[in-house]
């Protein structure tokens, strides 16, 4: 048993080292991309100071936060509406719609980006490389990810609806006053997933923002990626580490705090198949 404990400890160290490295490098005083030593020789807070005073990081952070917040509200509303309709109301077009959406979901999401870009250019002619565009990109297709929430609604007993209908409640009232209050876990799961997505997305934002000279319009993922490109890494590596700590801390805490709901959502869908 001692041996096993030791193996586990070694594994844990192996897993935590990159994150630990990231954190201590954010306090490194020496400039440059490569340090010959694991621990910095000079410790400093300058990287953080620089991050907030000399770079566009604060506006990236603000952009990402606003995008994440708005697209998470839209996504959650869309997902709940679609999954409830598919789970509870047996209308004629239900099966065909679900099949079409299953097929749509198998195309790589990025494939349609060139056309989305043209559409955004038409809809927002002066402002198509903007937060509004990104919010549309992240939330307009939300209906496609209805599976998990539908799986959840399927488990809520139908007798609740029937009882309420006998009492004369319409479907809208049943949805808002009976089903939604029972769905805390799936609502939290949907919010969590859709709030974190824009923080982590690179592919869509890099396409929408391609060729934008004004870097203050970027989100954190894109801006920080640019810092690590060959031309800027020597100058920005330690700043990158500081930014990474500032971005990752709230997201990590949020995820750790709500991980129970996350596991429930993912395995809940899996168990039922």
């Amino acid at each position: 048993m001692k041996g096993r404990q030791l193996i586990l400890t070694c594994l844990a160290i192996l897993w935590i080292v990159p994150l630990f490295y990231l954190i201590i490098q954010s306090f490194r005083g020496e400039p440059g991309a490569w340090s010959p030593t694991f621990f910095p020789q000079q410790w400093t807070l300058d990287n953080y100071k620089r991050l907030f005073t000399e770079t566009n990081f604060p506006s990236w952070y603000r952009n990402t936060f606003i995008i994440a917040l708005v697209s998470c509200i839209i996504t959650t509303a869309f997902v709940l509406a679609v999954s409830y309709a598919f789970s509870r109301i047996k209308f004629k077009a239900r099966k065909p719609m679900m099949n079409i959406m299953l097929i749509l979901g198998m195309f790589p999401g990025f494939m349609s980006m060139s056309a989305v870009y043209f559409l955004l250019k038409i809809l927002l002619p002066n402002n198509y490389q903007s937060m509004a565009s990104l919010i549309i990109v992240y939330s307009a297709g939300a209906a496609l990810s209805y599976y998990v929430a539908k799986g959840f609604f399927d488990t809520v007993p139908n007798s609740l609806d029937e009882a309420a209908r006998i009492d004369g409640a319409g479907r809208a009232r049943i949805f808002f006053e009976i089903i939604l209050p029972l769905s805390k876990s799936i609502i939290i799961y949907t919010i969590l997933i859709s709030f974190i997505a824009p923080w982590c997305d690179f592919i869509f934002v890099s396409y929408i923002m391609s060729g934008v000279p004004d870097t203050s319009k970027y989100t954190v993922a894109l801006g920080m990626y640019r810092w690590l490109e060959r031309e800027s890494i020597q100058q920005y590596f330690t700043t990158f580490c500081a930014a990474a700590v500032v971005v990752a801390t709230p997201i990590t805490l949020l995820f750790m705090w709500l991980q129970k709901y996350y596991v429930e959502g993912v395995t809940g869908g899996a168990v039922k198949g």
Binding site: R4, Q5, L8, A12, W15, I16, P18, L19, Y21, L22, W34, P36, F78, V82, Y84, A85, I89, R94, M101, I103, L104, M106, F107, P108, G109, F110, M111, M113, S114, A115, V116, F118, L119, V137, A140, G141, G170, A172, F175, C200, F202, I203, Y207, S210, M224, L228, F240, A244, V247, A248, I251, L254, F255, M256, Q259, Y262, V266, A270, V271, G273
Partner: protein, 466 residues
């Protein structure tokens, strides 16, 4: 049957109902459903205006050479004879934009489809209204309609906005890009300066042929994509399961602390951990003693070997799989832990009494149970890994390059999805090939899920996992 009845009734109907076939909603307006009738009439007016001013022209351009091959659009941008002193060039006369032709053509086709559906509905309603009128019943008024859409038709209310979003920003763009796969839209036929042409299935033939350099590149990229998806899925899945079992062991102390520690690594946004790992693996100058990331330096100091991450294809691939295990194992550990605790304890009890060791218990109880429960999750993981842009792009960027084995911007660790990305923008842009790849990825995912789905439903048909 029901529709036949409606048609019969329509033939027998009076002038007002017949007139509403031509002017949608007339019947509604004169029979007590004013608001509904006006909405129908207005939508017809908008549709007709749209078709005359806009849709008709684009539809004509769309179908002009659709079946025979040839230009998408009527006229190309050309340079007129007039000198413009302000810009110091001959003025350009703008032509048609082929991409807009495809996009608006698709949009118009959908709008016609929706209009026909709406028209047929309004005619049916009009017939019903006449019948109601004959027997002297009053139709539902506007307030009744609102109530109707909050109760019996609540699904329409719920679905309308999400479906508009899906239609505009997923379906129309997707169908447009599928059509692009049948054109020659690339950097040499860039809109709006040039027109591109319909070319039929030429692009698919080029991509799938085993002889051309493009075809060879495609099969190489596809091969690595499948190897990657298989290895990435199974290493993470079984690694995570073993880790969960390991932590679950009776003798292990501080179970919760260990779990939290591992979960912390997946809670960090993936792009952050991937970018820092890619820099930790950096080769610096590529030579011994030329610096590089902290892992490279560590390996050089201990094993006297300079890591060739991003310089040598095999090394890069191996390290990508390793890094993916670092990301994926805690993830599946998190999911497996809960399920493991649900396995009935008496199964292990009786296995022990029958003299089964830990390995046998794993093979006969744990593994079948886990596979049974998490089977569908495994499929989504596999398909997710085929499309795993972040891990490849942020770690290696697809590199190292190899000009002999790969063309069209692909590199030796590119997946189909990262290649698609490179073909969509930058110097290697080639929209037609990007669309072909997207369609092929769809075919792969669809075939794979279909096969596995049929098999797993067969397994489920047999009853429980034992």
């Amino acid at each position: 049957m029901k529709n036949n009845m409606k048609i019969k009734n329509l033939i027998k109907s009076n002038v007002l109902t017949k007139l509403s076939c031509l002017f949608m909603g007339i019947g509604h307006i004169f029979r007590g459903q004013t608001v509904r009738g006006i909405v129908y009439l207005l939508s017809e007016a908008v549709f007709v205006l749209y078709m005359i001013a806009f849709g008709g022209r684009y539809l004509a351009m769309f179908f002009q050479n659709f079946f025979t091959g040839g230009n998408v659009g009527f006229k190309e941008t050309y340079i007129s004879g007039e000198w413009d002193p302000n810009i110091g060039e001959y003025t350009k006369v703008p032509g048609d934009n082929s991409f807009h032709v495809v996009l608006y053509g698709i949009l118009t086709l959908f709008i016609i489809l929706f209009f026909v559906i709406t028209w047929w509905r309004s005619v049916k309603e009009s017939v019903t209204l006449e019948q109601l009128n004959i027997i002297g019943r009053k139709p539902r008024n506007f307030r009744g309609d609102v109530g109707h859409y909050l109760d019996a038709k609540f699904h329409t209310t719920l679905l309308s906005l999400p479906m508009i979003g899906l239609f505009l920003f997923t379906i129309v763009p997707l169908v447009t890009m599928i059509m692009i796969a049948f054109t020659n839209y690339d950097a040499n036929h860039e809109v709006p300066e040039r027109l591109f042409q319909w070319v039929g299935i030429q692009n698919f033939a080029d991509m799938l042929s085993g002889n051309s350099s493009l075809g060879k590149t495609f099969w190489r990229v596809l091969g690595w994509t499948m190897v990657w998806a298989t290895l990435a899925t199974f290493t993470s899945y079984f690694g995570g399961m073993l880790l969960a079992i390991f932590i679950n062991n009776k003798g292990i102390k501080f179970k919760k602390a260990y779990r939290t520690l591992f979960v912390a690594t997946i809670a960090v946004p993936q792009f952050v951990s991937l970018m820092i790992l890619s820099k930790m693996l950096d080769t610096g100058g590529g030579m011994p003693g030329s610096g590089g990331g902290i892992i490279t330096q560590f390996i050089e100091n201990v094993f006297n070997y300079h890591l060739q991450f991003g310089l040598d294809a095999t090394t890069t691939r191996v390290w990508i799989i390793i890094v993916n295990m670092w990301i994926g194992i805690p993830y599946s550990m998190l999911l497996c832990s809960g399920i493991l605790m649900n396995i009935p304890k008496d199964l292990y009890e009786s296995a022990r009494i029958d003299g089964a060791g830990p390995a046998r218990q794993f093979r006969k109880i744990t593994l079948p149970y886990m596979l049974f429960v998490t089977g569908p999750y495994l499929i989504t993981q596999f398909i997710g890994n085929i499309n795993n842009f972040n891990v490849i792009f942020l770690l290696s960027g697809g590199g190292p390059g190899d000009n002999i084995k790969y063309t069209n911007g692909a590199k030796s660790t590119d997946l189909l999805i990262t290649w698609l990305y490179k073909l969509s923008l930058g110097t290697d842009r080639n929209y037609k090939l990007a669309s072909v790849i997207g369609i092929l990825v769809f075919v792969i995912s669809a075939v794979f899920s279909l096969v596995v789905y049929n098999r797993s439903s067969a397994v489920q048909g047999e009853g429980n996992f034992q």
